[in-house]
């Protein structure tokens, strides 16, 4: 990380300019770490930085206080250069209790800033965090280990105590006062990185608009934390990070799930037909349902179904009725929807399915990320059941991918599955707000012409059958899951007709390839290594590849947004490099597809830890592949 020292103003402490920094706030799941992280993100965004975030929380709603599994954290990287990932190693760790310290210390860089809330390091919390005991049987505090202060820049701050002190005269109970302590930490870190407090002050006023005492309390604590940094003898310097050079325009912070929901709204507004969104609550997809429920003005009808199967079949019923049928879930729910998706394949109706992947199989790691549903998306249904599969690569990209899913589903009368993941869903980035008018058109034409109507007549270019709204006189017809004769749509058990229909359904999906733009290659057009990725690993791969390029290596990357069908130019691109590396958060799924499809000797880089890949480990994999070649 490059650093330049600017001459400090006479009174203030010296300020050092950095190009980027990685911070993690960690504490109990009740300590407000998510709010703290989100608020710091807004501050950094105001300062014009590029940002990438990684919220990480336990599956339990309120895990027992002080335990290791109850630790909740929020990490972000912000910088004056492009930021592709939330960062691998931490420059600063805020640990609100011993458990948070124990869980996260391993990620802190040697020499990094470590801020601990000393008040929480009592015997009970130390014991819960499982610190070893001394000869008297009392748990040893890691803060007493001289090695800690040698290895890191350790700041022991009585955050709880100082919070309580500055709220002494306010009519709040002890618990309410204690709850403000996260804003002390936020104020302190905001001072360390000279981020503006204004957005947080505004947010506090909004959030507690109905309770002036809470407003007063939180503002006081926030400012106290900030002032503590400035005045306490502990901190000798602080840091500035200049605004990043980003394309001009108006920005907002965007998470993946909100972007998916808003992409649907944009599609509803453009097509002027209602959306019926059937979903059953499941982590990490539920927030899409909640977000859409707020936006009835777009004629989005959200249906909290009795189960995953009802969620997908209600969406299919809606599509049959001439609305945009959409369902969302995570891997386990997608498994349940398989038969329903097959019905949409057979009935040739538009259907959009969001799969927000999480760790599995079974319940797995509900709140953690993974990319292991690719095979399920491609093949996870009975018989020959091809669907279109696309994947966003950043939180903001989810907006475009949802819109694209609706466009393709309607144009080709096919199910389209969007593979997002827990990391994209909850992670955020500063997002350049698009002009909705610049989005491609989504033409919708319901058939009304009686003359020559048949339910399975096909469009020559797309092979789509006509979309007919019930209520259209003279076009009464019946469809269903039984195989049908092409053209008429009548039930048919004819062997050759079935073979023809299997091929036709596959060909229809294959023709979606004509919608795919040229693949963007980041780096030389030919060379030693091409790194191919898909989905949420975009940031980590791009950061690793750019670093390898700066080292002078002949490395490029290509990120695939269309997974079925694959981009028509991909085979040609793969052959321009000696080796192909495919990093994925699964045991090697896309790599298998590429090997099968293109007969290239692609190799995988696979880690399945429920966490995003680190760019450093991808860089190492690139190095290894380069060395293996020579």
């Amino acid at each position: 990380m490059s650093e330049t020292v600017t001459p400090a103003p006479a009174v203030a402490k010296p300020r050092r300019t950095l190009t980027r920094a990685v911070i993690r706030f960690a504490g109990d799941s009740g300590d407000g770490m998510q709010v703290t992280g989100e608020q710091f993100t807004t501050e950094a965004a105001w300062a014009g930085n590029d940002i990438s975030t990684l919220p990480n929380f336990p599956a339990e709603i309120r895990a027992p206080a002080g335990t290791l599994f109850g630790v909740s954290s929020f990490q972000l990287q912000f910088g004056s250069q492009r930021v592709y990932t939330p960062g691998d190693q931490l420059d600063t760790l805020v640990a609100m209790n011993p458990a948070a310290l124990k869980v996260h210390l391993g990620d802190l860089k040697p020499g990094g800033i470590l801020i601990v809330n000393t008040a929480a390091f009592d015997q009970r919390n130390l014991e819960k965090a499982g610190y070893p005991k001394d000869e008297k049987g009392e748990p040893k505090s890691p803060l007493n280990d001289p090695g800690l202060a040698e290895k890191f820049r350790l700041y022991q701050v009585d955050i709880s105590g100082m919070t309580k002190k500055c709220l002494e005269d306010l009519p709040l109970n002890a618990k309410e006062k204690e709850r403000c302590k996260n804003f002390f930490a936020l104020g302190l870190v905001s001072w360390i990185y000279t981020r503006p407090l204004d957005p947080t002050l505004d947010a506090i006023k909004k959030r507690f608009a109905k309770n002036p005492t809470f407003v007063e309390a939180n503002i006081r604590v926030l400012k106290a934390g900030h002032a503590f940094g400035e005045t306490a003898e502990m901190f000798s310097e602080h840091y500035g990070i200049e605004a990043a050079e980003m394309p001009a325009g108006v920005y907002r912070s965007m998470t993946g799930n909100r972007a998916l929901a808003w992409g649907l709204l944009a599609a509803a507004e453009r097509t002027q037909i209602p959306i019926v969104f059937g979903a059953y609550p499941i982590t990490p997809a539920s927030s899409i349902l909640e977000e859409l429920a707020l936006h009835k003005r777009w004629r989005v009808r959200t249906f909290q179904a009795e189960d995953e199967i009802a969620a997908v079949t209600s969406a299919i019923g809606a599509s049959f009725g001439g609305a945009i049928g959409v369902t969302a879930s995570s891997g386990p729910g997608i498994a349940l929807k398989g038969e329903g998706i097959g019905l949409a394949v057979m009935a040739e109706l538009p259907l959009v399915i969001f799969d927000i992947q999480r760790g599995g199989p079974s319940t797995g790691l509900p709140t953690k990320t993974e990319q292991a549903d690719l095979m399920q998306a491609l093949y996870g249904r009975n018989s020959e059941s091809p669907i279109v599969v696309i994947a966003p690569c950043t939180p903001g990209d989810c907006f475009y991918i949802a819109y694209e899913a609706v466009r393709i589903a309607i144009k080709y009368m096919v199910p389209v599955m969007v593979l997002s993941d827990g990391y994209l869903a909850n992670g955020s980035e500063p997002w350049l707000i698009p002009d909705p008018k610049s989005l491609p058109d989504i033409p919708v034409s319901f058939r009304t012409e009686k003359e020559g109507f048949q339910a399975y007549l096909r469009d020559a270019a797309t092979l789509a059958r006509p979309w007919v709204r019930p209520g259209t006189p003279g076009l009464e017809h019946r469809i269903g899951g039984i195989e049908k004769q092409d053209g008429t749509g009548n039930i048919s058990y004819e062997p050759d007709n079935h073979d023809h229909m299997v091929r036709t359904r596959a060909e229809k999906v294959r023709r979606v390839a004509q919608e795919i733009p040229a693949t963007v290659v980041n780096g030389p057009e030919s060379g030693d290594v091409l790194v191919v990725g898909w989905g949420g690993t975009y940031g980590a791969i791009t950061a690793a590849v750019e670093e390898a390029q700066m080292e002078g290596k002949s490395v490029a990357s290509a990120h695939i947004r269309h997974l079925n069908p694959l981009p028509p130019d991909l085979g040609q691109i793969l052959r321009q490099y000696r080796r192909v590396l495919v990093p994925e958060i699964n045991s090697g799924q896309l790599v298998r597809v590429l090997r099968a499809e293109y007969l290239v000797d692609a190799v995988g880089f696979n880690r399945v830890r429920g966490m995003p890949l680190a760019s450093q480990e991808i860089l190492e994999a690139i190095h290894q592949l380069l060395e293996a070649k020579s």
């Binding site: 014009g48 980003m246 003005r297 179904a305 009725g321 097959g342 002009d435 269903g480």
Partner: protein
């Protein structure tokens, strides 16, 4: 939003024939489904709804082939899921008249959950459940309405499951219209279907249907002339509950919550239980009665008119949101909340 309970006369005049599709009907010869199909087709003109506004949705099973034979819109879906699919359709198109055709296996076994929820939500659909107490399409396994000890291919020593009553289920789930009829009482079936399909809200009709191949005469108690006379009870709202041969009429009196069979000539008419089809509690008591201890009630058990429907509430919310704040504007939404300018 156009109304679904069309005004008779305002719509095209139909005959039964207008509702017959060009597909060959492929049920087994002698199947009770033929009579039901005919009764449904015959009751359609009475609805007074343009046939393009009518949709039949089904799941899987013999009964679920039904939509193919109706010259309306239709969707033959997957096993048990018709109620969920119909719910989505009604959300998209509340103005359509939607029927769900299901059976005792499709509706009460694999699709029991969906049937429960479509009824409790009071989605405006008419559900016809053909109950033949057997799995027909899979060739003769016992169903959730088969009697305990039923010997079938999958239960050679007799089934160990207790049967459930579809009408009791529907009443408990919250259906706002519940009725029972029989495939061999054509006139009664037609009348019941007409009433059910005019109901606004979740209407449920159990049609006792004969599977002459795998479970012939399962409802013989209502087919056999003598036992039919002895046990068939035709319910009429506001009338005392009586049945049986003219010279030996029986009636019900309620002793607390316990129904007791009496000879009508032994009690004053004022002592007899009077059927109140607006009352769910007594409807549920009635639905549980069965021969030989009690009569078998046919007709409308419950009819609650004027209840709000699920999709009705959602559409109201949507209209309120639009009238309060105007239709959605994505350009404005994108710029709402915290934004900042670069460059």
């Amino acid at each position: 939003m156009s109304t679904v309970t069309g005004v008779p006369g305002a719509s095209p005049k139909y005959t039964k024939k207008d509702f017959e599709s060009d597909q060959d009907v492929r049920w087994c010869p002698g199947c009770g489904d033929y009579a039901i199909l005919s009764a449904v087709q015959k009751s359609m003109p009475d609805l007074g709804i343009p046939k393009e506004d009518i949709v039949f949705i089904s799941g899987i099973g013999c009964s679920s082939r039904f939509p193919y034979y109706m010259n309306t819109y239709g969707f033959h879906t997957i096993h048990g899921r018709a109620p969920a699919l119909a719910t989505g359709l009604k959300l998209a198109r509340p103005e359509l008249k939607v029927f769900v055709v299901t059976g005792d296996g499709d509706g009460l076994s694999i699709g029991g959950n969906h049937l429960l929820h479509v009824l409790r939500r009071n989605v405006d659909v008419t559900i016809l459940l053909f109950n033949n107490r057997i799995y027909g399409l899979t060739k003769g396994q016992y169903s959730p309405t088969s009697e305990l000890g039923k010997v079938t291919k999958s239960t050679p020593m007799g089934s160990a499951d207790r049967p459930l009553s579809p009408c009791v289920f529907a009443l408990a789930a919250g259906a706002t219209y519940v009725a029972r009829t029989v495939d061999r009482s054509i006139a009664h079936m037609e009348e019941t279907l007409k009433r059910a399909s005019r109901h606004k809200g979740a209407a449920f009709v159990e049609i006792l249907q004969n599977c002459n191949v795998y479970n012939d005469l399962a409802w013989n108690v209502l087919y056999d002339k003598d036992s039919k006379t002895q046990f068939e009870l035709r319910l009429e709202h506001g009338k005392p509950i009586t049945w049986g041969p003219a010279d030996d009429r029986r009636g019900l009196v309620l002793e607390g919550l316990k129904p007791r069979v009496v000879k009508t000539k032994d009690v004053p008419e004022s002592a007899l239980w009077v059927h109140d089809e607006t009352d769910r509690a007594t409807a549920t008591l009635l639905a549980q009665l069965w021969a030989p201890e009690y009569p078998i009630p046919l007709g409308t058990l419950l009819s609650q008119e004027g209840e709000t429907t699920y999709e009705g509430i959602l559409v109201q919310q949507e209209q309120k949101a639009i009238s309060d704040r105007g239709p959605g504007d994505i350009a404005k939404l994108l710029l709402s909340g915290e934004t900042w300018k670069i460059g």
